[in-house]
């Protein structure tokens, strides 16, 4: 007897028939449960939104007036015939895996996630389930992240070298999550930390909700670069090399992303330096996460889906590829977000 699956994959995104809601839908629907505030997960035009309390402020900041409700991590909620709860995904502050249970069958839609504790985001919490929906942005064995303190040491060393040579260091990173994580890794002893406006707005939202970030100076059009010798400027990748950046005079630019692990991409995208750091799980992170769920059925979206799915199937899981509609612009910003 075939019964309706707890979650199905539709034109609009992941759908739960028992609760009549969608998870991270990419077209306007009545009821949307959102894993986190990145543009490829939280889109405008939904009738109502449900996300963690920690994810909501950034979503409101990005999407403007929305009908939204917050939920605490671990708090249970009944929606129609489904039991729903949100659990930390470790991706960016407030990001969640969404657990959906109907009649004893448990599914988890994990959104984007990483296993390493960045000292900043609520750490990833494994959730037991029967069916697990995973990303595979870096689902190849060539992606293996070094410990965060090693990357922090590289970045700070580069910044100090720039400062000693009388150059401004420009570090490009996506505005929500990655940028704040990098800020928290910087050593303020080296010099002043400046930020681009697009990023400072997000900083303000996160500081308001109680996150601790180092002191930053908003690099407005009026700011005189000469007043901030030895500075590092954290900005969106698109601002690297722009007119705004050029008025800082002699400078080096770097880009921080998991893609920087590949020499070819690094040479194409990195400016002077590329630092390998990502808010997504690496190869061993993905495998550990999947093992820890105890799930037998794995649905793979985002990234190297074909290769990763084949590997899972050869190693005892029942895995399948779920086509996704929203990878394009993720690559645009240098990393899936």
């Amino acid at each position: 007897m075939a019964r309706t699956p707890v979650l199905t994959f539709t034109e609009n995104g992941i759908y739960c028939p028992a609760g009549d809601f969608y998870i991270d839908p990419w077209r306007p629907v009545d009821r949307a449960l959102i894993t986190h505030g990145h543009a490829d997960h939280a889109r405008s035009g939904m009738g109502s939104y449900l996300a963690t309390h920690a994810a909501l402020p950034v979503m409101r900041h990005r999407l403007g007036e929305i009908r939204a409700e917050g939920i605490a991590f671990g708090e249970g909620r009944r929606i129609g015939g489904a039991e729903v709860s949100f659990h930390p995904a470790g991706h960016v502050p407030g990001s969640a895996q969404i657990r959906v249970a109907v009649g004893g069958e448990v599914w988890v839609a994990s959104g984007d996630y990483k296993l390493v504790d960045d000292g900043f985001t609520e750490p990833f919490a494994p959730v037991k389930c029967h069916h697990f929906i995973t990303e595979s942005t870096f689902g190849l064995p060539v992606f293996r992240w070094a410990p965060q303190r090693d990357v922090a040491a590289q970045i700070n060393h580069w910044w100090a070298t720039c400062a000693a040579a009388g150059k401004t260091a420009f570090l490009g990173a996506y505005a929500l999550g990655k940028a704040q994580r990098l800020l928290s890794m910087l050593d303020p002893q080296i010099g002043p930390i400046l930020t681009h406006g697009a990023l400072e707005a997000t900083n303000a939202v996160l500081r308001d909700q109680g996150l601790t970030l180092p002191a930053t100076v908003h690099a407005t059009a009026e700011l005189n670069p000469k007043d901030h010798p030895g500075a590092i400027v954290v900005s969106p990748p698109s601002a690297l090399g722009s007119k705004w950046a050029r008025r800082f005079g002699p400078q080096e630019s770097a880009f921080a992303s998991g893609w920087m692990a590949l020499r070819g991409v690094r040479r194409r995208r990195a400016g002077d330096r590329g630092f390998v750091i990502s808010d997504h799980a690496d190869w061993s992170g993905l495998l550990t996460a999947i093992k820890d769920t105890g799930a037998e059925n794995i649905y793979v979206t985002h990234g190297y889906t074909d290769v990763f799915t084949r590997y899972l199937n050869e190693n005892g899981w029942q895995a399948q590829v779920i086509p996704t509609q929203f990878e394009g612009e993720a690559l645009e910003s240098g990393e899936a977000t």
């Binding site: 190849l140 064995p141 060539v142 992606f143 293996r144 070094a146 893609w259 692990a261 590949l262 020499r263 070819g264 991409v265 690094r266 040479r267 194409r268 990195a270 400016g271 002077d272 330096r273 590329g274 190297y304 074909d306 290769v307 084949r310 590997y311 050869e314 086509p323 996704t324 509609q325 990878e327 394009g328 612009e329 690559l331 645009e332």
Partner: protein
Amino acid sequence: MKRFAALFNTIDQSTRTNVKVAALADYFSDATDADRLWTIALFSGRRPRRAVTTTRLREWAAEEADIPLWLFEDSYAIVGDLAETIALVLPPNPSSDNRSLTHWITELRGLAEVAEPQRKAFVLAAWAALGGTERFLFNKLITGGFRVGISQKLMTRALARATGMPETELAHRLMGNWHPDDTTWHALIEAADASADASRPYPFYLAYGLEDGPESLGDPDHWRAEWKWDGIRGQLILRDGDYYVWSRGEELMTDRFPELARTIDHLPPGTVLDGELLVWLPGSDTPASFNALQARIGRKTVPKKLLAEAPVVLHAYDLLEWQGEDIRHHPFATRRALLEEACADLPADAPLRLSPQIPFGSWADLATHRAAARDAQAEGLMLKRADSPYLAGRKKGDWWKWKLDPLTIDAVMIYAQSGSGRRANLFTDFTFAVWNGNDLVPFTKAYSGLTDAEFRQITAWVRKNTLERFGPVRKVTPHHVFEIAFEGIQPSPRHKSGVALRFPRMKRWRQDKPLQEANTLDDLNEMLRQYG
């Protein structure tokens, strides 16, 4: 290897020429003789004799990484570099090794003599001892191919800075057949007699493309014109009773062109010619297509039948050495006059001919000749200033290529494949089709010509419009029309469309053009009739 890895990182990560040259010059000033000799060798495509096959390397790496071989191969396809793939799949590792570049090379050379289990043990131990860039470089020592964006020009500039010697002399010393196994830093760079090697070629002088017409070059009387052939640029060296043929890519190709041995009978020793290698059938007015030549380049030894079917003739356009004397500093007009004199008495069946000059009175006159280039099986014209010396490398000013505009056709994208290396996260390799009735017939692939922004845009589109997947290839909804530019067209029974294109690339993304207005197979056949 630490010092070498630091140099490599600086060069590899910087896009600025002055940073690269400064790093190299520093290295050449203070590295050991053995290390700097090997560094020049590695950056100019020389490498230690291969002691381990790449098949074994892949197997051992997959085993060490605890992944199936197919997964290693799929990863390699995406990374695009074997040495890098191996370095990445192995468990991350801080490097704690202090042995020098030359030390590692010497150890690798010793591997040829030992049995496979010892070879494997050595490689695994090296992988465990080396981390990051050093592990990658160790693999590169085995696989070869250090592509780091260091041209011969930058290397000689850095060497000049480190040694105080003139760049031109260094450029010449670095040419030719040397290998660190049988020379030293002193012999190669510093010793008085640099002409010891009879096969040593001169650095090629390379022309820039002329963007607009030639009017900006001034008085046409100061210029000489020749056909720009669609063959292989080659340097023929006659010294000490022997002959040597070098390609522009600095590859010694003597054995591939045995017919050129007869040039020894026609010209005296101490002669070096610059010219074009072309397949040219006896009695024909024009050279055969590049395809015919391709069959020859592919063979290290040439069967008799092929030698008869596709005979190669060198068309000489410049004389660099005459009677044992380097005459590159003389004006082109003088060198050319000597060349014509030297070639005056060649028999009709000699494997050597003078590449003709094209007389012209005005630039307009020359434009008429250029328009006829396709009939002569040429790609366009070469313009050379009459008083120019023969320089080394690509220099602006005295030599220009004035190529024909490419042929173009509007085609529909039907398959997409992701790129590798530089473009591993983008779809960049596309298959294009033309209409045949209501069917789309694939006829060419192309993977260059778009901007990174356009590649990102089309990548997003491909992901949303995949109809089917065959391994790495995705069949996509026929929707986008691209203008494909190419240099030539030939019949090809191997292709479904019956044609093969030369140098196809995407010239423009025709977002303005509806699908139905792409060209047809009939259009393609008409081009084949006209230009094939």
